[in-house]
C-alpha cells in the first residue's frame, strides 16, 4: 500500500488545524449510489452555521428525491444546468457576454454546483447503472481528452519525473468471467503535483494514454501514483464560497481515470481510488464509491522494477485490478432497477 501518510495526511492535518475540518470524524459510510445522499449530508455536517446546515440538509434531500422520483436522464440534467446558466446570464441585452474558451476555468459553474451537492454523481450512477458484479461508474471529470496517444502494453503513459512509479495491470472481463480482448482502455491521471497535462501551459500529452487488451483480456502499463489535489475553484467565486461556508474543502482524493470501450459492451467511465487516502470520504465532487477503492502493494525487487522499465527507483507501487464490463442489455436491466 502506498503511504498516504506523507503529503496528503499533512494537508488533512492542516485542514483540521486551520479550518476545523476533521476528516477522521466523518462517518464511515459504504459509498454507493444508494448512499450518496447520506454521504453529502456527512460532508456538510461540518458546516459551522447551524441554520445553513439545516437548510442544505433539506435542500439536498429534496434535490436528490427530485432526481430519483423523476428518473431524470443525464441529457435532461445537462439541459437543466444549461438553462440555469443562461438564466443567470439574464437577458442577452443586460449582459454583454464574452466567453473565454480555455482549459478548466470555463468548467460550467452550475455543473460544479451539481457536483458539490452530489447530484452529478447521483444522475451519473442512476443513468449508467451497472449490474451486480460489473465495475461501477465514476465521473468523467473535465480533464478527459480523446486524442491521447496509443501505447503498447507495458509502456509508460507518464514521462520521467512526473511522480512515484506505479505499475498497473489487470484483465477486462464480462460478467460471466470471460476475458474481453481488444478492449480499448483510456487511462488519465493527475501527476505527482496533482496537475493534469492540460493544466500546464505549454502542455503536451502526459500521464494519459490508450492501449488495448491482449487475447486473454490482459493489460498492463506504467504510470505514476496520483495524489489528491485541489479542484481549481477560486475561493472568491460563488461555488468556491459555498464550499467554504459549508465547512468543506476543495480536495479530490487521488484517482486514476479509466474509460473502457469494447464492441458488444456498454462503454464504462470509471476511476480507481486508493485505500488510505484521507480524502476518500470527503471528495468535493462526491465521486468515490467503495467498490472503486483499490489497494496497492510495493514491489521491492529491483530486478522486477528494472524489468518493468522503471529506471530511477529501487521499488515501485503495483495496482492490480480487473474491470468487468456489462452488455447494453444487462445495463438496461440495471438502469430499470436503479430508477424504480
Amino acid at each position: 500500500m502506498f503511504d498516504y501518510t506523507d503529503k496528503a495526511a499533512l494537508t488533512a492535518n492542516k485542514l483540521t488545524a486551520d479550518h476545523g475540518i476533521d476528516l477522521s470524524k466523518l462517518p464511515k459510510i459504504d459509498m454507493s449510489t444508494a448512499s450518496i445522499t447520506e454521504i453529502v449530508h456527512a460532508m456538510n455536517s461540518n458546516c459551522p452555521d447551524e441554520r445553513m446546515k439545516f437548510v442544505f440538509k433539506n435542500l439536498v434531500d429534496h434535490l436528490h428525491d427530485f432526481v430519483r422520483e423523476t428518473s431524470i436522464t443525464t441529457e435532461e440534467w445537462m439541459s437543466a444546468l444549461e438553462f440555469l446558466t443562461q438564466t443567470g446570464q439574464g437577458n442577452p441585452s443586460v449582459f454583454d457576454l464574452q466567453p473565454v474558451a480555455q482549459s478548466d476555468s470555463n468548467y460550467p459553474e452550475f455543473k460544479r454546483l451539481s457536483d458539490v451537492l452530489g447530484v452529478s454523481s447521483l444522475v451519473g450512477s442512476m443513468n449508467d447503472a451497472k449490474p451486480p458484479g460489473a465495475t461501477e461508474v465514476s465521473d468523467l471529470g473535465p480533464f478527459f481528452a480523446d486524442d491521447a496517444l496509443e501505447f503498447d502494453n507495458g509502456a509508460s503513459i507518464a514521462s520521467e519525473g512526473k511522480g512515484d512509479y506505479m505499475w498497473v495491470e489487470g484483465k477486462v472481463l464480462d460478467t460471466k468471467g470471460n476475458p474481453i480482448s481488444n478492449c480499448l482502455l483510456h487511462a488519465w491521471e493527475a501527476d505527482g503535483h496533482g496537475m493534469y497535462d492540460v493544466q500546464y501551459s505549454p502542455g503536451g500529452s502526459d500521464c494519459r494514454g490508450r492501449l488495448r487488451t491482449t487475447d486473454d483480456g490482459s493489460f498492463c502499463f506504467r504510470a505514476v501514483v496520483p495524489v489528491p489535489y485541489l479542484i481549481p475553484v477560486p475561493s472568491d467565486n460563488p461555488v468556491g464560497q459555498l464550499i467554504v461556508s459549508l465547512g468543506r474543502h476543495t480536495f479530490r482524493p487521488a484517482h486514476l481515470h479509466m474509460m473502457l470501450e469494447a464492441p458488444g459492451f456498454e462503454t464504462l467511465v470509471t476511476a480507481l481510488y486508493f485505500k488510505g487516502d484521507p480524502f476518500l470520504t470527503s471528495d468535493v465532487v462526491c465521486g468515490v464509491k467503495t467498490s472503486l477503492i483499490v489497494d496497492t502493494t510495493t514491489e521491492t525487487d529491483l530486478a522486477v522494477t528494472r524489468a518493468r522499465g522503471f529506471v530511477e527507483a529501487k521499488s515501485h507501487q503495483v495496482l492490480k485490478h480487473n474491470f468487468v464490463l456489462a452488455t447494453p442489455e444487462e445495463c438496461a436491466e440495471a438502469r430499470k432497477r436503479s430508477i424504480q
Copy 2:
C-alpha cells in the same frame, strides 16, 4: 363591474385559438398562500409535453416543500437567487460582464423564474403573513418607485388620456375596525395600454401617487382602470422559453398596486385584482389571492362624474375597498402560524 369582455377577452380567446391555452378550463381554486402549489400545477397542466409536465409537477412540489419546511426567509431567498445568478455568470474570468442598468430589462431572470414557479409568491406570503381579517399581501413587482408625487384626496394620480376613469375610495382600518388616520398610501398601476410610466422613454411620473388618510381613515383618488398586460420577458430568453414550453402565457391580470404605511402597523404591500378578468387564475407570476379580487361598479350619474373631476366621459368605474393593517405583534403571530 368593468367589462373585461372586450380587449382582455379577445386576447384570451386568441390564446385559445393560437396556442391551445384555454383559460376557462383552468380549475377554480381558492387562491391563497395554502393553495399556491395547486395553482402552479393547474397553470402548468396545459403543458403539451407529458414528460415535462411530470418533471415540473415534481420539481414545483419539492421546491415549495423546501421553502415551507425550512421556513426560508425573504432575505435568504434573495441571497439564493443572487447566488444562482452569480453561478450562472461563471468565473469572473470566463465572462466579461457589463451590466446595463435600465428599466425592467434587468429584472433578474432568477427572480422571474422564482415568480413563474410560484416560489416568490409563497416566500412573500409566508414571510409577510397577516392575521385573519387583515388585508393579504401581493407582490411588490419591479415597477415601484419611492419618489411618487403626494396628492390630496380626490386628486388624480393619472393624467388625461391614460385610460378609462376609475374612482378609488375606502378606509384604512386596524383589525378591530378602528380607522387609521394619516396612513401613507402609495398607489401605482399600468395605464390603459398595460404600460407603467417607467416603461415609457422619456418617462415622467404618471398613474402613480402617494396620499394620506383623513382623520376617519378615509382616502379617495382618481385613477384609470388598469388592464391585463404582458410582462416584458422576451420569448427568446430562457425563462420566456420555459413559459411557452409549459403551455403558459406571460400575461398578468389587471391590478392596482398599493403600499400602506402607518406608525404602529406593519407596512402592507398588496394589490387589488378585478372580478371578470380572464387572467385571474393564470397570472404568470402567481400573485393573485382570492381575497384581493374586487368588483367595480359603474357610476352613470353625470353630475357625480363631473363633481369627481372626470371631464371627458359620461360615466366612470368605482372601486370601493377598505384595507386592514395589522400590528407587528399580530403579524409575528401570523408568521409563526404560517411557517409551522
